[in-house]
Subunit: 403 residues, 2 copies
């Protein structure tokens, strides 16, 4: 019995979000991830809602805890030649190298793909960047919201005619991280069969396009340009939309004729089915405003949570609009094993998200906390076979573990 990535050694030069999310998926599936940080540490250690320096939060910011639990942390100064030599020994140790510096930085450090391949011929090497390692935009700096702008993503959400609207969280970072994880695991599978390593170039801009496949695909295939349509669903059915109720909003997904009829039955408005204006899908779209007004009137009789239950009992997809904390408190998740407990060093007990998929055998997860900065520098140096005197000498130059 074994987790999918058990025994897989990952040398992780990434920081902030997309890269650490990629290695989080590997770590939660059993990989041994050594996170190499500068003496200042990953920016995310002191980021994300709590005041830096607040007790219990020194280097253990909630965003850091979320995606770095189970990894080991090692502090190296990549401008120091002796530390670079350690990095090269780590490459020989590793199955996977992942980095998210600007394109060219790893090459200048002597740690680019070709250099790593010379050390470890079957290395799987993944670069994560804003615009990729090739193309005219490659040198541009990028953060999630820049990619949301340039990719067209900001012109998809909102009411028709409204201005650009960002998706309110760094969704491109998340998607990029998972795409990198998929590419890495795929390359490891290929290596099992062929013995060969791989170089993987993952870009946030490319990832944003792939994430938009449901609109970018039809545009590429047939020139169809996406339109903003508020909360109206992909189907454009007026009864697949979000509506107010006596208390709270509800989204209903009645698309097919039978779903529309069921909806009308639950709303106790069978007359709507008989109404010529709403006779079929096309006529319902043509009389969308009138149909919506009727549905809104009927929904005013109960709360969103009540309608959610009644509609689902009748087989009509419906979900009350919830805040994130309400969603996570739903009893459903207690059955799903979606989260794991972790104990950040020096901090309060916390929970993290697991991989997001359930497995029958050897499920994902970690019992190890997020690492303190440089917590494992000594341990990893010893594993690499450095003699004690050399370990001490190397640690002398790395403040956090130099006590």
């Amino acid at each position: 019995m074994t987790q999918a990535l058990q025994g897989c050694k990952v040398l992780d030069f990434t920081h902030v979000l997309a890269g650490p999310i990629a290695t989080n998926y590997l770590c939660l599936q059993g990989a041994d991830v050594v996170k190499v940080e500068s003496a200042q540490g990953d920016t995310m250690r002191n980021y994300g809602g709590l005041t830096p320096g607040q007790p219990g939060n020194a280097g253990m910011g909630p965003s850091f805890v979320s995606v770095n639990s189970g990894k080991r942390s090692m502090v190296l100064d990549l401008k120091n030649e002796r530390h670079l030599a350690v990095a090269r020994r780590l490459v020989a140790w590793a199955d996977v190298v992942i980095e998210n510096f600007r394109p060219g930085v790893m090459d200048r450090l002597g740690l680019g793909y070709e250099a790593c391949k010379a050390i470890r011929p079957d290395i799987v090497f993944c670069s994560v960047s804003g615009f990729g390692q090739s193309g005219p935009l490659r040198a541009n700096p990028a953060i999630d919201q820049i990619i949301q702008s340039m990719s067209g993503l900001m012109n998809l959400s909102g009411e028709p005619g409204s201005g650009p609207m960002r998706i309110g969280f760094p969704v491109v970072d998340t998607f990029t991280g998972m795409l990198a994880a998929l590419a890495i695991v795929s390359a490891l599978l290929r290596r099992e069969k062929s013995g060969e390593g791989q170089y993987i170039d993952v870009a946030m801009m490319d990832a944003a396009m792939v994430m938009m496949v449901s609109v970018a695909g039809p545009y590429l295939a047939a020139g169809i340009q996406p339109k903003k349509q508020g909360n109206l669903g992909y189907s454009m059915s007026p009864t697949a939309d979000t509506f107010p109720t006596a208390r709270g909003d509800i989204t209903i997904g009645a698309v097919r004729q039978d779903q529309f009829e069921q909806l009308c039955a639950v709303l106790q408005r069978p007359d709507l089915v008989a109404d010529a204006r709403f006779a079929d899908r096309r006529s319902r779209q043509q009389n969308a405003a009138a149909l919506r007004a009727e549905v809104v009137r009927a929904l005013a009789a109960r709360t969103a949570l009540e309608w959610e239950e009644l509609l689902n009992q009748a087989g009509v997809a419906a979900g009350a609009v919830r805040e994130l904390h309400e969603a996570l408190a739903h009893p459903h998740f207690a059955h799903r094993g979606l989260t794991l407990p972790v104990q950040p060093p020096g901090g309060d007990p916390a929970r993290i998200l697991n991989t997001g998929f359930l497995l029958a055998s050897d499920p994902g997860g970690t019992r190890r906390p997020p690492p303190a900065l440089g917590e494992h520098t000594r341990e990893v140096l010893q594993e690499l076979g450095y003699p004690p005197a050399q370990v001490d000498a190397l640690l002398g130059a790395t403040a956090p573990d130099a006590t």
Copy 2:
């Protein structure tokens, strides 16, 4: 030399979006995907912008083409016992079974995980559903916008105080599909090492939570509730936001002090750096409205595209807001090999998105078109070893290939 999934046989019972997106990732990496369809075919064949029945679009709707190219299509009637026997032979042939029926349907068909495992002990079996195979919501119907409502996703985007706002495309479907692909490839890697199969339960609701890790993580770790913040970035810096210009909008990502100083230099407003109201990150947040007004005034001098170039030259992350078609037309993508040509049978030449990651060796992609409905029924039956008379008899019951 070999693609990562070359030689991998995938028996695909999925339809519409999340499931076909999962197998699209496998197919583009070399897997042999046999898509089992009813005689009516995947709903997506006649969906997504073009009128059903329009010449060149019969069963080749742009949404279908986008995520089904390279697969083989086989028509089976799973209510017919002789066809169920074919499905069981396909299970013996397959490395991976994937399905997105409602929970329990595959069991009732005699094609559930335990039944498949009895036929093929090392099968990797993935179920994709709205709420998963366990928990009180498991039987509920789900579509993307229902999950966006119930997961909290609709309360993350938009201006503070605004109502629920859907992300304007089925992002949960896309993310769920990629998560399923990651889980499947991970299970195949585990099988290479352990010889064991796996059962994978992927739910759109779980996937939505994992997609929101940047906000769900901090909530789980430290109780921090996300707030809507319009186009203001994750950093909450007033100079990491979207602004109007002389022509078009631009998003600027100036977060750190040095980035703010560079921004002011490019705007030819060095006085802003010296201004006590904007002296450091905290004071800039306290005087956000005043700072925004100054930036907007300065940006009125040029177009978004001009500012994009000037700011990037100065090392400040900036991107003009583009429509999707403008983004895809950017010369950058010509260097990225993001898309592939395909020729749908009976339709116009089209392009599809590739995997979204670039590989140095054996890159992803397919030369095969999206399949006509049942195009490969005969071929697959022959591969399974059915004698000619039996092939003809089986085809007699499947209209599309019964010519």
